[in-house]
């Protein structure tokens, strides 16, 4: 495993490797997402209870589970970088944080938009929405801490510690919020959840989920590549790459001018 991984631990190799897979990832994401979204919006049957508002489910649930998943991914990256002093892991964690925050925000907004017709109110202190909100705070904390350090290597280390503390806390927070929610639930509210899904609802969901996951991977890849460049800006390979890129850019501008 380590032997296989070793060449990819080199920033230059992984920069070029991600550069190669990036178009494929993007194409696959577009394919799956367009199929999934069109299917979900136009062809999937309406829920017998929730009607067409159920279609929000196809965005809300993937976004919510991906937002948790990205946080765990960040925690794994932080752990790897701390234990094995593996600098690329810091770069990948830094690339993941904003993506995770955006998907948490999407889960929150779609949750509120789903809740309004269901509960008659935009916000309800439902267990899932509440822990999603706290997850957003955790993400914003990591991002803010990252931005507060000028030195990106230090920023990565500090954010890594915070991520690990957060990931230990996350299950506790989730559990405590769920427990608090059952404790304070006065009237019976229909919870946001997965009603028994029929097979013609499942397939568009699978496509949407895979599509969003691929999209997340694509965006993380793009950000990861810029993080590698910033962290290795003194390396000769970055220098040649940058000067090549800039000269190409200048040539293009000249062509445009002509």
């Amino acid at each position: 495993m380590w032997k296989w991984l070793h060449p990819y631990a080199n920033p230059e190799v992984s920069y070029h490797f991600t550069g190669k897979i990036l178009p494929w990832l993007g194409a696959l994401a577009t394919l799956f997402l367009s199929i999934g979204i069109i299917w979900a919006l136009a062809f999937a049957p309406a829920d017998y209870q929730q009607g067409d508002s159920f279609r929000i489910f196809y965005v809300h649930v993937p976004a919510a589970s991906l937002s948790m998943g990205i946080y765990f991914g960040m925690a794994i990256a932080a752990f790897t970088s701390m234990v094995w002093q593996f600098k690329l892991a810091d770069a990948s964690a830094a690339a993941m944080a904003p993506v995770g925050a955006i998907f948490t925000a999407i889960a929150l907004i779609t949750g509120a938009a789903w809740g309004k017709p269901m509960w008659g109110t935009w916000w309800i202190w439902d267990a899932r929405l509440t822990s999603e909100l706290i997850l957003l705070f955790l993400y914003l904390g990591v991002i803010a801490l990252h931005n507060a350090f000028e030195d990106k290597n230090l920023a990565g280390k500090a954010a890594g510690i915070l991520t690990l503390v957060g990931v230990i806390n996350l299950p506790i927070i989730k559990y405590s919020v769920e427990w608090w929610n059952t404790l304070h639930q006065g009237s019976t509210v229909s919870k946001l959840g997965k009603p028994s899904m029929s097979i013609d609802m499942l397939w568009p969901f699978v496509f949407c989920f895979i599509g969003f996951a691929l999209l997340v991977a694509t965006i993380i890849c793009i950000r990861f590549r810029s993080e590698i460049l910033t962290r290795n800006s003194i390396r000769p390979w970055v220098r040649t790459l940058v000067s090549e890129h800039l000269s190409k850019h200048i040539a293009q501008e000249k062509n445009n001018a002509i």
Binding site: E150, D151, K152, N153, T230, S233, I234
Partner: protein
């Protein structure tokens, strides 16, 4: 940039391999190799912002380099932290003196923390060595910056550490004090210790060839 021409057979006290330091995406030094032996006094020089303080902090283990390793007695300092810190005395820009405690209390705490032997009589003697007689019981917040520095320098007189890393030890110290410190350095290196320091003025009582120099000038402002 090897300081020592590998004349001695004993292994170096501190050695540094392929040290590269980047601060705020600026390269301060690249692929630095240093060996420091017992009995060396090393002066790190270079213009402002050239990474003198960064080098001293990396040598003391406070900062991690971008690349490269620091060895103490041929062991990585991160792996022999306790032994290394027992043999290390680092004085940075900041004196590490609490304003709410008296001069004597400050010195006593710092010495005890380092595990150096101390008692009331000792403390008084040490403070008088740095010209602080009569100030033992005054709160440090009532003392001047120079006096703070002298409180922190007083630890040198009682230190059992072999490695002294001193960042600008002579700031806010008068000529007499500088001379006294240099005598202290001489005694220390004679006993098999080493001194690594940065300073703007040249060392007065040392022969120029006695002082080993590390020049940092990889600056791009």
């Amino acid at each position: 940039m090897s300081v020592n021409q590998a004349t001695s057979l004993t292994p170096p006290l501190i050695s540094v391999t392929n040290l590269t330091c980047i601060r705020e995406e600026r390269l301060l030094f690249d692929q630095l190799n240093i060996e420091i032996n017992a009995g060396d006094i090393v002066q790190v020089e270079g213009p402002n912002g050239s990474g003198k303080t960064s080098l001293l902090r990396i040598l003391s283990g406070l900062s991690q380099p971008f690349e490269g390793e620091v060895f103490f007695n041929q062991q990585l300092i991160s792996q022999s932290r306790e032994e290394f810190h027992q043999d290390l005395l680092y004085l940075g820009h900041l004196p590490g003196v609490k304003g709410e405690m008296s001069a004597a209390e400050n010195l006593s705490f710092n010495l005890t923390l380092q595990g150096a032997p101390n008692n009331a009589v000792n403390i008084e003697k040490t403070l008088s060595a740095v010209n602080l007689t009569g100030f033992e019981d005054s709160l440090a917040s009532h003392l001047s910056a120079g006096q703070h520095r002298r409180i922190s320098l007083a630890r040198l007189y009682k230190s059992t550490a072999k490695i002294w890393i001193l960042d600008e030890p002579f700031t806010a110290i008068d000529k007499q004090g500088v001379r006294a410190l240099e005598l202290l350095f001489k005694a220390h290196i004679k006993q098999g210790g080493c001194v690594i320091l940065t300073t703007h003025q040249d060392l007065l009582t040392f022969e120029p060839e006695q002082v080993k120099k590390i020049t940092l000038d990889y600056v791009f402002d």
